[in-house]
């Protein structure tokens, strides 16, 4: 069986600084991966390179067996588009389109790409707004939403494209603590529906709760990977344990 994501020796450097050094891992369909680690460890860069938001210096990325990048260079524009079509991304700062209503945010891309009738698009947008609990906000503008609501809209917007893989780049880091719960609940529901997800997060209890596997990144590499029980209960490396102790004290 092919892995849904297959990353081999992924490398990225700025001059002499290695942001990512030889990152390799596989993700299986339906798996939820939590990526944790100190800031500057390359978590976001790794995640973003999976959907062609970063240039890379070396390595191979395969999505469902198809090469998105090979030997450090990305495929041609048409192939990138075809491959990343099945992927969605949710950003730390939501990146909603402020000039469009919530519903228009959801419908902009599918309507522009014209692969489906607008009736179907409309039906799905209302359905997804219901799913994230924001049916009453269809006509609101992003400026009038709380952070938690914005992030739920962003998740619904990503789901509009019916992705098979969802990437989350610190989805709750910009939120007030009391608003993280509503976002994490939505992500957890997606996990229960077997969505393949990679989530860069600082929410350790959430990672423990929802992830099938946890990657601990440090210094541009995946230092340790394992089940939540292994990583949180019985980490092999002292730097993993040090990191976890520190965030627990701070958190």
């Amino acid at each position: 069986m092919t892995h849904i994501i297959e990353v081999n020796q992924l490398r990225k450097s700025f001059g002499t600084l290695d942001v990512l050094k030889q990152v390799s891992f596989n993700v299986e369909p339906g798996e939820v991966i939590a990526v944790i680690g100190p800031s500057g460890s390359g978590k976001s860069t790794m995640l973003r390179s999976l959907i062609h938001l970063e240039d890379i210096s070396g390595g191979t990325i395969r999505i469902q067996g198809q090469a998105l990048a090979e030997n450090g260079s990305y495929a041609g524009a048409a192939d990138i588009r075809k491959i990343t079509d099945r992927m969605g991304m949710v950003f730390q700062h939501f990146n909603l389109f402020p000039h469009l209503t919530v519903q228009a945010n959801l419908e902009l891309a599918p309507k522009t790409l014209k692969k489906e009738s607008s009736a179907i698009i409309r039906q799905r947008s209302l359905e997804l707004l219901g799913k994230v609990g924001l049916s009453d906000k269809a006509d609101a503008y992003p400026a009038n939403l709380s952070g938690g609501q914005k992030q739920r809209v962003a998740i619904a917007r990503a789901l509009m494209m019916q992705p098979e893989i969802l990437l989350f780049d610190e989805p709750t880091s910009a939120l007030d603590p009391e608003l993280t719960g509503e976002v994490l609940r939505v992500i957890k529901q997606l996990a229960q529906e077997n969505m393949t997800m990679m989530i860069v997060t600082h929410e350790m209890s959430f990672a423990r709760d929802v992830a099938d596997r946890v990657f601990f990144m440090d210094n541009g590499e995946i230092a340790e990977a394992g089940t939540p029980e292994q990583i949180f209960g019985n980490a092999k490396l002292s730097r993993t344990r040090t990191f976890l102790q520190r965030v627990e004290v701070e958190g």
Partner: protein, 219 residues
């Protein structure tokens, strides 16, 4: 001072105001798209084009509008070789100067608007599968115009007032007739009337742009 006097003075001034308004509309309708085109050229990855656009903006913003006006009306025909093909009537030459001058200012305003848009907007559009062109037209440009609206309002009010520079190249407009009446009658009233007419025009613009800003407030 009689009503007949006022009406007598106002009649030519109102005719002059038509020239003022016509020049204003012509300049704004052409210089806004021109400015936007120049903004895109300034951002072009093809360096010679970007360089030309930057130079154009630098020259038009760096020299007095009055100088440009005189140059287009009286200087162009003196250019060696091509001058004889560049003889326009005064109004056309003046309109050209206004369009090119204001185009440069609008280019800078729109460039500022583009700069204000977070790169997360591009990224969000990209991961949703929009092409660069679709991202520009559906996501970036609508936000850019909204950001640029207050500065555009400001520029358009400046433009209304700058049309009075036509006086210097003897194209009869509002101020020209006011000045003529003051000279003839030794009275200040025509200046006062001219001021009121300019204020009325800027008031219309102010209301128009306020309404536009309200219409495009996304809350």
């Amino acid at each position: 001072m009689s009503w007949e006097y006022l009406l007598g003075v106002m009649k030519p001034m109102l005719e002059g105001a038509q020239t003022t308004i016509f020049l204003f509309l012509l300049a704004i309708i052409v210089s806004v798209p021109l400015g936007f085109g120049v903004t895109l050229l300034m951002k072009s990855r093809f360096n010679p084009l970007a360089w030309i656009a930057h130079t154009y903006v630098y020259v038009m913003r760096g020299t007095p509008l009055m100088l440009q006006l005189l140059f287009f009306c009286f200087g162009l025909p003196l250019l060696p070789g091509v001058g004889e093909y560049l003889v326009f009537d005064r109004f056309t030459a003046a309109a050209l100067a206004f369009i090119l001058n204001y185009g440069a200012y609008f280019a800078e305003i729109f460039r500022g608007g583009l700069l204000s848009i977070d790169k997360g907007q591009h990224e969000a559009a990209q991961v949703l599968g929009l092409s660069k062109w679709q991202t520009m037209t559906k996501v970036i440009i609508p936000q850019m115009f909204r950001v640029a609206l207050p500065a555009t309002a400001n520029e358009s009010i400046s433009l209304i007032k700058d049309t009075a520079l036509l006086y210097a190249v003897a194209v009869p407009e509002l101020l020209h007739y006011a000045q003529a009446a003051v000279n003839r009658d030794f009275r200040l009233t025509p200046f006062l009337i001219a001021a009121i007419m300019y204020l009325l025009m800027t008031m219309v613009l102010t209301f128009f742009f306020k309404a536009l800003e309200k219409r495009y407030t996304f809350e």
